[in-house]
Symmetry: C2
Subunit: 231 residues, 2 copies
Amino acid sequence: MPNSETIQCKECIFNQLFDGILSKSEIMALSEHKSGRMFSKGEIIIQENDPVTHFIYLNSGLVKVYINGKKKNNDRIISISKPMDCIGLMSIFSNSNHIYSISAIEDSLVCFIELKIIREIAEKNGKFALCFLEKVSQLSDNFLINRIELAAKHMRGRVASIFLFFSKTIYNQTEFELPVSRKEIAELVELRTENVIRVISEFRKDNLLYINGKSVVINNMEELEKISRIG
Amino acid sequence: MPNSETIQCKECIFNQLFDGILSKSEIMALSEHKSGRMFSKGEIIIQENDPVTHFIYLNSGLVKVYINGKKKNNDRIISISKPMDCIGLMSIFSNSNHIYSISAIEDSLVCFIELKIIREIAEKNGKFALCFLEKVSQLSDNFLINRIELAAKHMRGRVASIFLFFSKTIYNQTEFELPVSRKEIAELVELRTENVIRVISEFRKDNLLYINGKSVVINNMEELEKISRIG
DNA sequence: CGCGGCTTTGATGTTCATCAAGTAAAGTGG
DNA sequence: CCACTTTACTTGATGAACATCAAAGCCGCG
């Protein structure tokens, strides 16, 4: 595979997540069953229906979690995950096979920890298990709330929320390179590509943002937020 | 409060869920911090924003989990939960306040277990914690998948799926009393009441089901399933 | 170079929300 | 128990929001 590389990551940021909860020996045990790999933009990390063998952790880069549509042009993106996010947390404990696919939308360093060792440690270290529990719950809550709010919004609000998401949650800047295509935005917010493009054109005309290809500058954050809330 | 009653439930079905995982003394400890209460149809069990103090478990009856809309006539029902379901599992570990409301749609016996004791046991008994983890994950997966499939369906498919849900998942019969109003069906599937009614009328006209008020008999399960899948 | 996928705009049609209005059912107070 | 009010249910008519279809320009890639 191109651009692939195996990395032993003893000081992976993963450990930070459970600071004070894991013992030295537990961290060691995890490290021994952990490996990292670079995925370049566009590469598929997990395919729907792959057996669940590892806990997956994003160290750097950006990935999308999605389900494959039955017909073509019908994928649905569940979430865009950033570093420190536990991607694919959901199906890991409830299914023996992945129910979502994951692929890199930017070059990404992905860590894999054998699920077996996670289970072993969780069984012995209840605090670790509880910490996991909180993360899973939080993630689920977010996804669900997200979906419910999405359903309540019209086209403009949906598209606005995506630009706010990238600006605030991902890049923390008003100026950034859009890491997804118009088509992918459509898959994120349950719209058709054409309509996403139309709305973007409107936003540009209304001077809410500057956008040229993938280069974005947000000009009127307040108005976008208003549109995202109401529309 | 009317129809309320406090019950010490030593042999609550809750214990069955963790059969072989909990020790005698742990079961005892849980029992001591557990209480049950009857809620009659329509009563509110949990209000959005109530502090999370207990793990909540449905022993008998039927409840709905929903979020209160900002405007009136804008509630959204997340799920209908049946006995053996851990209602309100989601927000319990991730939030200090409930983010969903829960109310009884049939007379229901609800068990409350102090969250503190659950946490204590989970910390010491990792298997118990893992078991919880699996339940949370499963629940989340179901909710999310549900929402995604919903968004893909048209009116007829959405309404059909609700009748299938009650017939197959809840009552396990082709003949049952609908426990929800047309308005609540609308809140379940992101439609307007008028449209739910229109679709139901069509189904009746097409002889897919007999329905009079709340009495339902499903006549053509196959066709309803087809509509639910495709439409 | 030419092919396929992404982007863009316009025209058209379908799906669904909204508005209106009336009937039935269910809860409320005298 | 009956008049009264409210809430649930139902159907029709209209319009808004969005999908679909079509066509053309753009871009990257083998």
